[in-house]
């Protein structure tokens, strides 16, 4: 098939950026979306033009490195699928495809389709962990965790940190990402000691970078791991509780 691509080109963070139109010819159904872009880049290089910069690594949908707005949808039209796992059979001959980077104030464009997502690391750094220094933990089976609890934690822990939730959100909010990490750790017995401090710290760090949640629910639709917004409800509840609990815990010191 042949496609017309409208691709966002931006030489650096300060460049205003613009769309360029490219023809992608002889695209095969079996190609992934990124392999299609590889092909376009090979042709650009052959013609002496700088290739399009975009991020990708594992190309198996797990590392969370890739992510493009394809026709205005984060990761494109297929539900529960990262850009690298999207295949060209989802497109048809003659189609015009618009390709943009993630659009969010917290994710500044570095070049072309590549953005800076370090704000996510800042959220994790503020409390997205269970303190357990290496060495000396008790036997793994001494902590009994009901299957249903660990399954739920795993649903949340499946987040790949790609940023599609933020890109899809009209407010550029990171509630789904933050709540997924909180749910992973807060649902487990190991995570209880730091639960309230973690919640307060992570939510407040999130708010330093990202917009507010107004329950559009676009994040859940865009999430390639189909993480549900139920976790946001849990986060909001825990955040409210943390305001009280953290004060009480302080009183115990």
């Amino acid at each position: 098939m042949n496609l017309t691509l409208k691709v966002w080109r931006q030489s650096g963070p300060t460049d205003p950026g613009h769309f360029e139109t490219y023809e992608a010819t002889d695209v095969k159904d079996e190609m992934s979306f990124l392999e299609m872009l590889d092909l376009v880049n090979e042709n650009l290089i052959a013609d002496g033009h700088e290739p399009i910069t975009f991020d990708s690594d594992c190309r198996e949908g797990i590392c969370g490195t890739c992510g493009l707005m394809i026709n205005g949808q984060a990761h494109g039209p297929q539900k529960g699928t990262t850009t690298c796992q999207l295949h060209m059979r989802k497109f048809h001959d003659g189609e015009t495809v618009t390709i943009e980077p993630w659009r969010a104030a917290a994710f500044p464009v570095l070049k072309d389709l590549m953005v800076d997502r370090s704000a996510f690391d800042a959220i994790i750094q503020s409390g997205g962990f269970i303190t357990a220094d290496t060495g000396g933990p008790r036997d793994a089976n001494e902590i009994l965790i009901p299957k249903i609890a660990v399954d739920s934690a795993m649903d949340a822990a499946a987040c790949i940190g790609c940023g599609a939730c933020v890109a899809a959100c009209p407010n550029g909010a990171a509630q789904l990402f933050t709540s997924a990490k909180l749910a992973h750790l807060n649902l487990l017995p190991q995570g209880q000691a730091e639960r309230w401090k973690r919640t307060e710290d992570m939510v407040e760090t999130m708010e330093m970078f990202f917009g507010s949640c107004t329950n559009y629910g676009e994040c859940q639709e865009a999430c390639p791991k189909e993480i549900p917004i139920d976790f946001i409800a849990m986060m909001n509840r825990d955040f409210l509780k943390s305001k009280l609990k953290n004060r009480k815990l302080q009183g115990q010191r």
Partner: protein
């Protein structure tokens, strides 16, 4: 010839006590002195993130580098199946000794016994550590941990988190690392790629990096440097490795004097999705756990074009079950891979371009029901369907082997130190634990063993000797020479102004390495590769096209240096494969096989680690041998019949 003695520094005494007594005998650095030492950790996969976090917890000053935009994206994240731990929770006869034995045997008696025993010992600590961090391993209804049998093991010792075990373990290590970053104990540098290892008087002094966003070249000095930079499977171009996985850190260390051991030991994973066309950028692995419930078969007849459901039982050849009745579909990776290649080469392959074998779940679905099978493998089935547009619940999967893991790597002693004092290699980047073949669910185990439990202990023994000594500063000529060389290199690549992209040459190189140094090797092919690779490299150096400038983001420039390193490594892989006149594990020389077509080792002549020393561009590397001694496990023919 240089005079390098490969001292493995393996402790003496009964194998069960070696690690314990070694820990006691090593010198310590007292807590107040630890903060006086700077340790550079390169790479943030399981080994790197675990090491950086643990060293920081101990009190060392850690500087940590990754070329990813976040440490969480390292390729450890893509491991699906699980992690071994000799817990014997299933009461099925497992033990540290059995895991040790299985690993030595699985490695076809080409690994260092003492290292493997230590690995098996700490495997139990790893599981405890990961659970404490909140890794959501699968549980049974009573809340206890679940285990499964995996990749050729006859006991259930594999812990798993759905099909995303690597992801969950990496997130655990990443979160521990980020906590140390927040405490100010680790200085984290993302989007920063190592381009040179700096030595002064033969001792590791630090590294030179390029900031992939600004293009800034910078020197970093440290008392010790840990390379945790993964394997070199992308030498084959098509592999299950991530697009950016590369050998550059290990290779640049090699060119500074670190020996590279057993480069020809590469693992081909039997269960990957077959390539569909010329444009394929990488191959996708389907977890080996699928072999627990899937049956592998091809049609008995050649060129059987019937749809799989129309091929009756009597016309199917379940070739692994037929040839290896006791292990069947769970035969070790190298054996399963070679047998798949054999039937495809015979013309019995399946799929549109006849390049795969079936992995069929019909029997399991009949026995267990659709729900159970889907619960076990649903996410893998979804992934398969996204790529191939076929539903494995309705028709058999098609699979074919692909390069997946590399057992070879930088030579290290028992302390995980290379032959350059102060330079360590951890995880897949070193060579030490898997011999000629790695068992399933053992890569995650080794990465975390090295990162959490081994290197943080052994490094003190080295650093204690440096107390009171000022490290070489970044203003030393050793650093400025290296920076100048790195900058020259980049300008040189851009100045070539040829016609073909670095990607093109990588693909062409990969074809040669795969054809002649892939699943099977022979003398003629390897000699051919050794003439074709330098010829292609010469063309590459004259005709590659890198646009843009060394400043700012330039993905072609990042790529070209990595491809150049793969050229040199690819040649060394072939040279090593040619030298090793035997078959062992993943290294299968067609000249050396038993009458049944199995790998035939030559213990009398090849029971050694082949460690190569770089002698300069255009000069043949020299071989140094570390003899392998087996005191606890007697080498036997590796039979899985």
């Amino acid at each position: 010839m240089s005079t390098i003695t490969l001292d493995s520094k393996v402790p003496s005494g009964p194998i069960e006590d070696r690690w314990t007594s070694h820990q006691f005998n090593m010198k310590l650095v007292n807590p107040a002195n630890k903060r006086k030492f700077t340790v550079l950790v390169v790479g943030t996969g399981l080994a790197g993130a675990a090491a950086a976090a643990t060293l920081a917890q101990l009190g060392y000053q850690v500087k940590c580098f990754t070329f990813h935009d976040s440490p969480r994206r390292a390729h450890s994240i893509a491991a699906q199946g699980g992690i071994n731990g000799a817990k014997n929770y299933k009461n099925d006869g497992d033990s540290v000794h059995r895991l040790f034995y299985d690993t030595v045997k699985g490695g076809d008696f080409r690994s260092r016994e003492s290292n493997v025993h230590r690995l098996a010992e700490v495997s139990v600590n790893i599981i405890d550590q990961c659970v404490a961090q909140g890794v959501p391993f699968a549980r049974e209804y009573g809340g206890l941990l679940d285990n499964r049998s995996f990749g050729g093991a006859q006991v259930s010792r594999t812990f798993y988190a759905r099909g995303q075990t690597g992801q969950q373990l990496l997130l655990g290590a990443y979160q521990a690392l980020m906590q140390q970053v927040s405490l100010g104990n680790v200085e984290l540098h993302t989007k920063t790629e190592l381009l040179d290892v700096v030595t002064k008087d033969g001792v590791a002094a630090g590294i030179v990096t390029r900031n992939l966003v600004t293009g800034d070249i910078r020197s970093w000095a440290g008392h010790a440097t840990l390379l945790c930079t993964g394997g070199y499977g992308n030498a084959f171009y098509l592999s299950t490795n991530a697009m950016n996985s590369n050998v550059t850190a290990s290779w640049r260390a090699h060119k500074k004097g670190a020996l590279f051991a057993n480069p020809c030991y590469t693992q081909i994973h039997p269960t990957c999705i077959p390539a569909s066309d010329e444009f394929q950028s990488k191959l996708t692995l389907m977890s080996e756990s699928l072999r627990n419930d899937g049956r592998i078969w091809v049609p008995k007849q050649f060129d059987d074009n019937r749809a799989p459901e129309n091929i009756p039982e009597e016309d199917r050849d379940y070739f692994l079950e037929r040839k290896y009745p006791s292990f069947g579909n769970l035969a070790p990776r190298d054996i399963a891979s070679r047998n798949a290649k054999q039937v495809v080469d015979e013309g019995r392959g399946v799929g549109p371009i006849k390049n795969g074998v079936y992995l069929d779940f019909a029997e399991s679905i009949g026995r267990l029901g659709e729900n159970v099978v889907f619960e076990r493998y649903g996410n893998l089935f979804d992934m398969y369907e996204r790529i191939t547009d076929e539903d494995p619940m309705k028709m058999p999967m098609r699979i074919y082997p692909a390069s997946h893991y590399t057992m070879g790597g930088l030579w290290v002693d028992y302390n995980l130190m290379t032959n350059i004092p102060g330079l360590y290699a951890l995880g897949e980047a070193n060579f030490s634990d898997h011999g000629a073949n790695r068992l399933g669910a053992s890569a995650l185990m080794q990465g975390l063993a090295d990162g959490y439990f081994v290197a943080p202990n052994t490094i003190g023994d080295y650093l204690s000797g440096l107390l009171g000594k000022t490290p070489v500063g970044t203003d030393d000529p050793a650093f400025s020479t290296s920076v100048a060389a790195v900058q020259d290199d980049m300008r040189r690549w851009i100045a070539v102004g040829g016609t073909k992209s670095p990607e093109y040459y990588h693909r062409e190189l990969g074809k040669i390495v795969w054809d002649y140094c892939g699943m099977t090797r022979d003398k003629n092919g390897l000699e051919k590769a050794l003439s074709e690779i330098p010829a292609l490299r010469e063309e590459f150096e004259k005709n590659v096209r890198v646009l843009g400038s060394p400043e700012g983001i330039n993905q072609s420039l990042e790529k070209v240096g990595r491809v150049a390193d793969f050229f040199e490594l690819g040649e060394l892989m072939c040279r090593d494969a040619l030298m090793r006149e035997e078959s062992c594990g993943g290294h299968f020389r067609v000249e050396h096989q038993t009458e049944e077509g199995e790998a035939k080792r030559d213990d009398a002549n090849f029971s050694f680690v082949g460690a190569w020393k770089w002698e300069g561009t255009g000069t043949t590397s020299t071989l140094h041998k570390e003899p392998l001694v087996f005191e606890s496990v007697k080498p036997v023919e590796r039979s899985y019949k």
